[in-house]
């Protein structure tokens, strides 16, 4: 577009009219365009919180008054996938029943991994409650958020179901309610909160949450209570203590003396779940004994009108 510098002067009277009119117009325009700026403070406020959703309650504190830092230590020397019990893994069953987890969600899932040299080991895998959680980082609305206790929770009232968190999680620990969740009718009576994910809501994401309401009142999470071999320890890094319901250990010492490791350490997610290597040898399992019973959900028949799906 060729521009032509035109030096044609405008008549003075017209220019005065134009100027006044122009000024009014400009003012009007300015006022109109500044209106969005009024939105700025709440936006800035939200931005400064970095989108942190808040837990519904005050953070859990320990006897010394400091905030709890929940952790889990899973002693694989004691986990045999409940082969010796003849049941599906009881940690998973207790979690499903305690939370009315819709089928086919296994918030703590017992994977069977092959060992070099043959044989397998069982790895119960709850949400790793990462300190650098990829799911928290990518959530557009802050529906997935980190708590002061170091856990990661999901607010299903805010989740928009975009599932970028599921793409981001490197541990396969997030589950989506694709349809109406198959849950029993009594689940619908519960008061939903992000610490007590009952009932599940269609079109949103959910996962293991370290049962925040239980340790707050001095009980251990469902999976710890249910493990017949005491393989799962729940602990507080702040007090440096962990228990599997029977034994108590100093968490840091237990970890270092037993060569604890974390899953996918190289991804930099800094999980709060640690593993002590083993294959169930302390409860008599030989590494060549493969296979465990498949997980069961007790209420598909009672979940009215909804059907389950494959993972």
């Amino acid at each position: 577009m060729s521009e032509r510098e035109d030096a044609t002067p405008s008549p003075s009277r017209e220019s005065k009219t134009v100027n006044r009119r122009g000024l009014l117009r400009l003012l009007g325009l300015g006022a109109v365009s500044s209106a969005p700026l009024l939105l700025l403070p709440p936006v800035l406020r939200k931005a400064s919180q970095q989108g942190h959703t808040e837990s519904p309650q005050q953070p859990a504190t320990g006897p010394s008054g400091r905030t709890r830092q929940w952790t889990m230590i899973i002693d694989l020397r004691k986990c045999d996938g409940c082969q010796s019990q003849g049941t599906p893994p009881q940690c998973t069953t207790a979690c499903i029943e305690g939370h009315f987890a819709p089928e086919p969600m296994q918030w703590i899932e017992v994977y069977e991994d092959e060992l070099p040299g043959g044989g397998t080991q069982f790895i119960p895998t709850p949400c790793q409650q990462c300190q650098n959680a990829p799911c928290v980082n990518v959530c557009p609305v802050g529906a997935t958020f980190s708590t002061p206790e170091g856990t990661v929770l999901v607010d299903q009232d805010r989740c928009i179901g975009c599932r970028i968190c599921m793409a981001a999680c490197p541990y396969d620990r997030r589950f989506f309610n694709w349809g109406d969740p198959p849950i029993p009718p009594e689940a619908l009576l519960a008061d939903y909160s992000s610490e007590h994910e009952i009932p599940a809501k269609k079109g949103t994401v959910m996962k293991c949450d370290f049962c925040p309401d239980l340790p707050r009142s001095g009980a251990l999470p469902h999976c710890i209570q249910a493990c017949p071999n005491g393989a799962i320890y729940f602990g507080d890094l702040e007090e440096d203590v962990a228990t599997n319901g029977k034994d108590i250990v100093a968490a840091s010492r237990f970890l270092s003396e037993n060569q604890a490791y974390r899953l996918k350490e190289d991804k930099g997610t800094k999980p709060r779940v640690q593993y002590i290597p083993g294959h169930g040898e302390e409860v008599g399992r030989d590494s060549s004994e493969e296979g465990r019973l498949p997980t069961e959900w007790p209420w598909e028949e009672r979940a009215k009108g909804s059907k389950t799906w494959q993972r």
């Binding site: 122009g22 400091r66 980082n137 170091g150 001095g218 702040e238 228990t243």
Partner: protein, 514 residues
């Protein structure tokens, strides 16, 4: 046949134990244990031995010299523990073997079998290794308490007719040996001994007996015998003196038919074990050596000195004192140093290479217990330095345990400390933190872009404003139609188009329809 073989094997054992006297003019021992002054109930239950210090030994198969006809299946070593006591009248012995439970009431070869041997003649030497060709040579006499478990657990074994060491009922025989090949019941050897007798009292049990054959646990073999028996083929015990013993155990798991003569496991590798008998009843209440009195101090730096209680004056001194210091003003969340020094009480020489552990009471979620915080080994100066991070403010105690070389159970001492309060140690580090990139950078970019878009909008408004009155000299209306005036120097192309002419901006002209 089995008895013959058993005897032969016992002889071998005896032989190896009595040999190697060359160069050993006096029996000496590297390991010793003090006998406590106590009365023990011989019933197979070792709980009455709990406060008495013992000695741990490893029982291993000895190596048969090459060229021998004996062959056996290799067995893993087993751990054993021996404790001794006396009440001035009788000598009590506890022989505990950590092996699985095997007992067959009908076949003692399928049951474990213990053997205890006492030195009688000084020159008799314990087996020190394999390969001695002269094991036929007799160097002295040893007293053997040989027990094949023909009676059940808790049943009093031993005793027998006068003149013989044989126990016809339960097979706890009092035997002797003078050379490697022979072993006889007291009174039955070649040399006449009318004073042969069996005044042994023994009772056995196994901690894993409830679980049946093969259960893990420990054999508990309890013996007692009068200090003096008057039988020259017995070792005699005296208050204030030492006696030397060796141990052996036959493991029924050695083969499908049970233990074999060659396969037994002995303590001979460790030499004679010296038992130090007390000289009399001690004036103070006997306490197990090694435990120290805690001296609780309210100061932040605690250094409890402890006085060891000596067990018996013996040639070797095993009293250890521990000195514990904790760094000044421990605070929650800050590393605190704890320093443990182990020294011999006698001469202050350091006790190196001892594992020291620091423990504390903790409770969590209705579970209470003692947990290990940190551990280390003492270095050559007997010093172990450890760092731990206190987690709880206030007065608290640390339990420091250390396992001395010959001890079964660890000794311990306590340290008190007052920990100051501190702040939160762990902060949840949630979220992505890219240094330098903040929401402000995003805002800056968005603001710039939208400002430019608003600028464009302003220009459009300016275009609107510049419409209406065409400046003089401009091509005028026609220019709008044909695009003339858009180009340089093309005014001459201006021509009105052939279509309808609508005058102003907002005059729609005649209504048409498409």
């Amino acid at each position: 046949m089995r008895i013959a073989l058993a005897s032969l094997l016992c002889s071998v054992l005896a032989a190896l134990v009595v040999s190697f006297g060359h160069g050993n003019s006096t029996a000496s021992a590297d390991l010793s244990l003090p006998a406590a002054f106590a009365t023990i109930t011989v019933d197979g239950d070792d709980s009455d031995w709990d406060s008495i210090e013992g000695l741990s030994v490893t029982l291993k198969q000895f190596e048969i010299p090459s060229g021998s006809e004996w062959e056996y299946d290799p067995l893993d070593p087993v751990e054993a523990q021996v404790k001794a006591a006396t009440d001035g009248d009788r000598f009590y012995l506890l022989f505990k073997v950590f092996d699985d439970y095997d007992w067959d009431p009908d076949d003692s070869n399928l049951s474990g079998s213990p053997n205890v041997m006492f030195l009688i003649d000084q020159l008799a030497g314990p087996h020190m290794g394999s390969g001695d060709e002269d094991f036929e040579e007799s160097l002295g006499m040893v007293d053997i308490w040989h027990w094949e478990l023909e009676c059940g657990p808790g049943v009093m074994s031993g005793g027998g007719d006068a003149g013989t060491g044989n126990d016809p009922d339960c097979n706890l025989d009092d035997e002797f040996a003078t050379d490697p090949e022979e072993r006889d019941d007291d009174g039955k050897g070649d040399a006449p001994n009318t004073n042969g007798e069996n005044s042994l009292a023994g009772s056995w049990d196994h901690t894993g007996r409830a679980g049946g054959t093969g259960s893990e646990g420990a054999w508990v073999f309890e013996y007692s015998r009068p200090l003096q028996t008057g039988d020259p083929e017995d070792a005699q015990f005296g208050l204030g003196s030492s006696t030397f013993l060796a141990l052996a155990y036959f493991d029924a798991d050695e083969s499908r038919t049970g233990w074999s003569d060659a396969g037994h496991l002995t303590s001979a590798d460790a030499g004679w074990l010296e038992v130090l008998l007390p000289s009399g009843q001690p004036t103070a209440t006997p306490v197990p050596t090694g435990s120290q009195d805690p001296t609780a101090t309210p100061e932040p730096t605690a250094s409890p000195e402890s006085t060891p209680t000596p067990a018996a004056p013996g040639p070797d001194d095993s009293e250890i004192e521990a000195e514990v210091t904790v760094s000044d003003e421990p605070r929650v969340g800050e590393p605190s140093e704890i320093r443990v020094v182990l020294r011999h009480a006698e001469d202050g020489s350091p006790v190196p290479d001892v594992k020291v552990r620091v423990l504390q009471d903790k409770s969590f979620m209705d579970v209470e217990g003692v947990v290990e915080l940190i551990g280390a080994r003492t270095d050559e100066d007997g010093v172990a330095v450890m760092t731990f991070i206190p987690r709880r403010p206030g007065e608290q105690e640390l339990l420091i345990e250390y396992l001395l070389p010959e001890a079964i159970e660890p000794a311990s001492t306590t340290a008190s400390l007052m920990v100051a309060d501190g702040g939160q140690i762990f902060q949840s580090e949630a979220g992505v933190n890219i240094p330098g990139l903040g929401v402000w950078a995003i805002f800056a970019v968005i603001t710039t872009v939208w400002a430019l878009l608003l600028l464009i909008a302003a220009r459009v408004i300016a275009v609107a404003r510049a419409g209406g009155v065409p400046p003089p000299g401009a091509p005028g209306y026609e220019g709008r139609l044909t695009g003339g005036g858009l180009l340089e120097g093309t005014d001459e192309l201006t021509e009105p188009g052939p279509l309808d002419e609508a005058d102003r901006l907002d005059e729609p002209g005649t209504l048409g329809d498409d």
